[in-house]
């Protein structure tokens, strides 16, 4: 059973007269419960692919299916701009809804809101989509979930801290908590350790690995083979396409890592 299925994705950027083709007829399957790592050189289009899979960006051609349903409108009707009018389009509304219900995103640079404390950053993901009225009744449950997930990532002591008062590793764990608090079907991680030192990075990866073992579908992008080893599938993005890994750096042979280090909290 596939959680996500991408077919024939094309993404190009117009750069003056020439076009920069980033994705070219790119196909991909993400089985449910898998932990997929997408590797590639810097600038190869990994982030672009992840954004398209996560319904943040729109490809010029191709389609992504979630639950067998296309995420984007047919290519001819696709809009590449954003605006207030989005609320009028059912496809756009569904795309936005998927982001807050089915997908969770973790970014290289954490992207927490600096004005909000840890708990509020996590709660915001639940608040979005709830009307002020509904929030009154949903608040208690959301808070319980947020506390549980923050405990899971080991930050239950830091609820009132602002992002600026946390280390990089801690911020990334808040970001993971925010991405998970609405129990997404797919967790996307774009170089989640790219900005961390080795130890903090290992911690984050152990956390992701543990989440994967609990059944969380994860799609991660990285340029670091070490990090990719935590995944059970590794794909390479080259020349706008996903290809099988080259011999010698094959990490896909293993579906699990050796003994899993204990997850530090």
């Amino acid at each position: 059973m596939n959680e996500l299925e991408a077919r024939g994705l094309v993404k190009q950027y117009e750069m003056g007269r020439s076009n920069l083709v980033v994705l070219h007829d790119c196909d991909l399957l993400i089985p449910r419960g898998s932990f997929t790592a997408i590797m590639g050189k810097s600038g190869s289009g990994k982030s672009t692919l992840l954004h398209i899979l996560g319904a943040l960006d729109v490809p010029q051609d191709g389609q992504v299916f979630f639950d067998g349903q296309p995420i984007f409108a047919p290519p001819a009707q696709r809009r590449h701009t954003t605006g207030i009018g989005d609320v009028l389009s059912p496809v756009e509304r569904r795309r936005i809804r998927l982001r807050r219900t089915a997908f969770g995103f973790v970014f290289q640079f954490y992207h927490l809101l600096p004005e909000l404390n840890v708990l509020e950053n996590v709660l915001l993901a639940r608040m979005i989509g709830a009307s002020a009225w509904r929030w009154l009744s949903a608040r208690a449950e959301a808070r319980r979930d947020a506390l549980a997930i923050l405990q899971r990532v080991g930050l239950e002591q830091r609820l009132r801290h602002r992002p600026a008062e946390l280390s990089g590793g801690e911020r990334q764990r808040v970001a993971i908590a925010r991405a998970l608090v609405h129990r997404p079907r797919v967790l996307f991680a774009d170089e989640p350790t790219g900005n961390l030192d080795a130890e903090a990075g290992a911690n984050i990866m152990q956390l992701l690995h543990a989440l994967h073992r609990e059944g969380q579908t994860i799609v991660m992008v990285t340029h670091d083979a070490q990090i990719a080893q935590y995944a059970d599938r590794v794909l390479r993005l080259e020349h706008g396409r996903l290809i099988a890994p080259r011999r010698g750096e094959d990490a896909t042979a293993r579906t699990t890592l050796g003994p899993t280090p204990p997850i530090s909290t």
């Binding site: 943040l56 207030i84 982001r99 915001l124």
Partner: protein, 552 residues
């Protein structure tokens, strides 16, 4: 929900927004003060017209006045729309009044009124001082000077200062009138009568110290120690308050003359043709009361006496008509007045008043067709010149320009307030730019474009509400304390007097805020702030999440 949450979080955390709020505050305060002061001014101009005139004014703008007012009033007083009509006479003269060591002569406008009638036509009675504390004692008929004494019938009472004191009293009917006022005041307000709009004389300071009820106004003390009426009876004269009293900075008046004091008015009679008789006419009066209309021009140069008395003095009363050729008496000349003030029954609408005004003019001019009335050509020409206008029309030449001026200044200030809108636009736009990444994040975790745009609209509205409320508070505070501010400035330097009584013709700066206007201004502040945030909102809505989150 996140919209409200983020709006308020940003409102608190973004320092720069406080500038936008300050701009709104200042603009709102500015417009509110301007509207209130100018609105109050227009209102005062109107009230002056209303308070000193009737609902309808009949006159001919001539110093010679016009005849047939008795006949006219006789005809119209039975009309159901007419509540009261009264003739008024205007002339000029010199008034002279003295107190020991101080005497004063002033050119004044002398107004002849029928006291009993005029108080039913306009608000004249409300502005009287002594009448308020001694109800029923003010009149323009012959009167003597009330002298304050010690009540011969009252037993001495113990004083908080020690010893016994005898309460002072006035002669009748003044004492009873004062008792009545004291009783009514106690019943209505539950506290003893005081004289809030008068400065205490030395006697009242004494009375207060000894726990005795105060005696409002100024009276001379009787030589016999008992209350008495002294001197010859003379007709009463009501002074404009600013002639006989000095306004203090706190708005109270300090009277320079005692009640009942002798005053002399010098007049010059005018013939029907307008020739002024060079022989002055002198008439003695007693200071019966003083009147405040709030219009400085009037209160500083007007005295009021009895209509029929003044008419007689001016030679405008009925007299034998002499045939210039035969030098024989051929009848009587009709008495003349300068103006007829008419009070209408309440509840008439504009159209009804307009129609009635025309009917009044027709009725008056119709008197010429009455065969029983015989006028000579000069008198007839006076009749023809008579018009009837509503009080609004009579003041239109003053009110119209003031209203226009007020509107113009409001528009001007409104345009100035666009600066605040531009400021909000800039500031919110800056916030959006600064928050680009956050907006991308919110969109990435599921916020819609409309939702993000709504944050900034709400933000604008919040700036409007906060700024508007603060501005209203500041504005109201300013308006209420404008007179104090002016007093303070004058104390620094007399050149800093902003509100010149003689220029604006009112003795104080208007200081009332119209609550409806306040709400309208508040609503405008919120609306314009939201308009100012529109650009920022659209920009935030159009932001692509991928662009925003791609980089640190």
């Amino acid at each position: 929900m996140y919209k409200l949450f983020l709006t308020f979080r940003y409102l608190r955390k973004q320092l720069i927004v406080h500038f936008a709020i300050a701009a709104v505050t200042l603009c709102v305060a500015l417009v509110l003060v301007q509207r209130s002061v100018m609105g109050g001014w227009v209102e005062q101009v109107k009230q002056r017209a209303r308070g000193l005139l009737g609902d309808v004014i009949v006159d001919n703008q001539s110093y010679a006045g016009f005849p047939l007012y008795e006949e006219f009033i006789g005809r119209i007083s039975a009309w159901p729309e007419i509540e009261q009509a009264t003739p008024v006479l205007y002339t000029y003269g010199l008034v002279r009044i003295s107190s020991p060591g101080f005497e004063m002569t002033r050119p004044v406008s002398v107004v002849g009124i029928r006291y009993g009638e005029v108080i039913r036509v306009n608000a004249f009675e409300k502005g009287l001082f002594y009448e308020a504390y001694y109800p029923g004692t003010t009149h323009l008929g012959p009167q003597r000077q009330p002298m304050l004494g010690l009540d011969p019938n009252a037993a001495p009472v113990p004083s908080p200062m020690g010893g016994l004191v005898r309460p002072p009293a006035l002669p009748e009917p003044y004492q009873s009138a004062l008792e009545t006022a004291r009783r009514r005041h106690q019943e209505r307000f539950g506290r003893p009568l005081d004289a809030p709009n008068a400065v205490d004389g030395p006697d009242n300071t004494f009375l207060r110290e000894h726990g005795l009820a105060i005696i409002p106004g100024e009276y001379a003390f009787s030589e016999t120690d008992a209350p008495e009426l002294a001197g010859e009876p003379w007709p009463g004269l009501i002074f404009g308050r600013d002639i006989v009293a000095t306004r203090q900075s706190d708005g109270r008046y300090k009277r320079r003359f005692v009640r009942g004091r002798l005053a002399t008015v010098t007049l010059w009679a005018t013939s029907i043709g307008g020739a002024v008789d060079p022989v002055p006419i002198k008439q003695a009066f007693r200071y019966a009361d003083d009147s405040r209309t709030g219009v400085y021009e009037i209160d500083s140069e007007t005295v009021y006496c009895d209509f029929d008395l003044l008419q007689g003095l001016m030679g405008m009363g009925p007299a034998d008509r002499i045939d210039p050729q035969t030098e024989q008496v051929v009848g009587r000349t009709p008495p003349r007045c300068s103006q007829i003030q008419i009070k209408l029954r309440p509840g008439l609408d504009r159209a009804a008043v307009a129609a009635l005004t025309e009917r009044l003019a027709r009725t008056y001019h119709g008197l010429l067709d009455d065969p029983s009335i015989r006028l000579d050509p000069r008198e007839q020409s006076l009749v023809v010149g008579v018009t009837a206008v509503t009080w609004e029309q009579s003041q239109a030449h003053i009110i119209g320009p003031v209203e226009r001026e007020r509107m113009m200044v409001t528009i001007l200030f409104g345009i100035m307030s666009l600066v605040a809108v531009a400021l909000i636009l800039c500031i919110l736009y800056m916030v959006v730019l600064q928050k680009t990444r956050d907006i991308g994040i919110v969109k990435a975790i599921g916020g819609s474009s409309a939702g993000v745009a709504a944050i900034f609209l709400l933000y604008g509205a919040a700036v409007g509400v906060v700024g508007g409320v603060l501005g209203c508070a500041l504005g109201v505070l300013t308006v209420v304390s404008l007179n104090d501010i002016q007093e303070f400035l004058i104390r620094l330097s007399p050149a800093l007097r902003v509100w010149d009584q003689s220029v604006y013709s009112f003795d104080s700066i208007p200081s009332e805020v119209n609550p409806v206007e306040l709400l309208v201004i508040l609503a405008c502040a919120v609306a314009t702030s939201m308009a100012g945030s529109l650009g920022a909102a659209l920009r935030a809505g159009m932001m692509q999440p991928v662009e925003a989150i791609r980089y640190e």
